[in-house]
Amino acid sequence: VSEPLRVAVLEHDSGGAGERLAAALAAEGAEVALLASRAKGGRVSAAGVGRVELVQPVQVPDLPLRLRKIGEAPGRMPGALLALARGRYDIAHAFTAQDAAVAVAWSRLGGGPAVFTQREPLTRANVADRRWRLATLRLALERSDAVLAPDEATAASVRRWMAANPEVLEPDSAAAHLALYAGLRR
């Protein structure tokens, strides 16, 4: 009997596409960990997530960085990288550019493939609106092993603003994701 695939889903906040994917993957038999923080204004809930392990990475204080408009929650990045390194995952799937940067770093440090889903449409107003924003977005799109979008509208926005061509995969379609992961691991 082969070992189940171990997937780390990184999603900064809760209740979004990452949580849906995590639940769908778990239902298909994958071992899934949802790396989500108790972000300000958000509460991570394991309800309805099924056999998903909830991991809350350590968050280092980052108020000075955020006041200087650096990143979205840069203090979460070291903890997320540490959690990935400890978890013996086969795949890291990120749903924000910043988390994708962490997944890429983990991949380069000997981890498995990194997958990035741009979960909401890009606009001119959100591609370079903070420091690090454009740099992390470019890194996520150019260095991830696979780039996805949940729908055609989001994929079109990525083509328009970043000249990248994501594959459209709905977060609920676990089978398609598992096939993608298998292809990346070969």
Binding site: R68, K69, I70, R124, A128, R131, W161, A163
Partner: protein
């Protein structure tokens, strides 16, 4: 095919920013048959294919991309290739790090109709969509209240006939070729008029200190333009310092050096330090942040002064 009224020429070095510019130009309110776009670039074939060829402006035939055989080269060479390829009688220039407002071309044409033959300069402002980037200590952007003294090519319109008569951009000018062209136009009796309604937003980009210094030392070549146009000294502090901050920094350094012998000389640092300390605002936290940034910013300013001294030696004129 009828000729367009206006050709927009872009000298491109940054493919992603160029893509964003193309997206903004796509939204121009000027009728599509009235303008065309010429992009001059030195991108390799895969980059050009990814960022340019599949864009709707290219597919519709409104954009032509020119890739000189020897690469893009300096901006003056790129822009010369661009206006020479123009089919329209009026040529508007913008840069790949700019985002024109949708009515930009219309407003430029309106002003050109009001002042026939004049060089028309639009307004440039830091992109409000990138305002948060100002939190970085080393930021490049541009703000122009037209008509300005430098007539930057990020937002300006010439008649093709005038550029041709002037011989185009001076390709020996590594930087400041836009200033040079506008000064030659004014010396030929052509007016420079402002079109404050024709607005372009300029990228706000943060740099590391080494990156910022590397970027800014190329301004040493400005001495070439100053040597050609001594009237530029009228805008220099004491007729020598390109920026006021260059003068105040030199004074501050002199004051710091002299303070060991005579303490009052330390006061010479105030004209540099005071504007630096309040540049983010008067709240204690703003002053504290600004104070922390002073050393890095001073290093950059000093590097600029040293670079311009080197440029002065090369081009035989003193501008710091």
């Amino acid at each position: 095919v009828s000729e367009p009224r206006l050709t927009d020429v872009v000298a491109a070095t940054r493919p992603l920013r160029l893509r964003w510019l193309l997206n903004a130009l796509e939204e121009q309110t000027l009728a599509s048959e009235e303008w065309e776009l010429v992009v001059v670039h030195g991108f390799d074939a895969p980059t050009a294919a990814r960022f340019l060829s599949d864009h709707r402006l290219a597919r519709s035939g409104r954009m032509r991309a020119i890739a000189p055989p020897a690469g893009g080269g300096p901006p003056a060479r790129q822009r010369n290739a661009g206006w020479r390829a123009a089919r329209a009688a009026l040529v508007a220039f913008t840069d790949d790090d700019c985002r024109p407002e949708p009515d930009w071309l219309e407003r430029l044409l309106d002003r050109a109709a009001e002042a026939p033959g004049a060089v028309v300069q639009g307004a440039t402002r830091p992109d409000p969509l990138e305002r948060d980037v100002f939190a970085a200590p080393h930021v490049h952007t541009l703000e122009v209240d037209p008509p300005g003294r430098f007539a930057q090519t990020c937002n300006i319109l010439y008649s093709r006939e005038l550029i041709e008569r002037l011989g185009g951009f001076d390709q020996r000018a590594v930087v400041g070729e836009d200033i040079d062209l506008s000064l030659r136009a004014q010396e030929a009796g052509v007016a420079l008029v402002g079109a404050p309604e024709a607005v372009v937003s300029h990228a706000v980009e943060a740099h590391t200190l080494p990156g910022f210094v590397r970027r800014n030392v190329r301004w040493r070549h400005l001495a070439y333009v100053v040597a050609r146009h001594p009237r530029l000294r009228r805008d220099c502090a004491l007729g020598v310092f390109w920026k006021q901050s260059h003068l105040t920094l030199v004074l501050a350094l002199a004051g710091a050096a002299g303070a060991r012998r005579s303490m009052p000389l330390a006061l010479l640092a105030l004209p540099y330090l005071v504007p630096e300390l309040v540049r983010r605002g008067g709240r204690p936290v703003d002053v504290a942040v600004a104070a922390a940034e002073v050393p890095g910013r001073a290093v950059n300013e000093l590097a600029e002064v040293v670079a311009m001294a080197a440029g002065s030696a090369r081009y035989g004129t003193l501008v710091l």
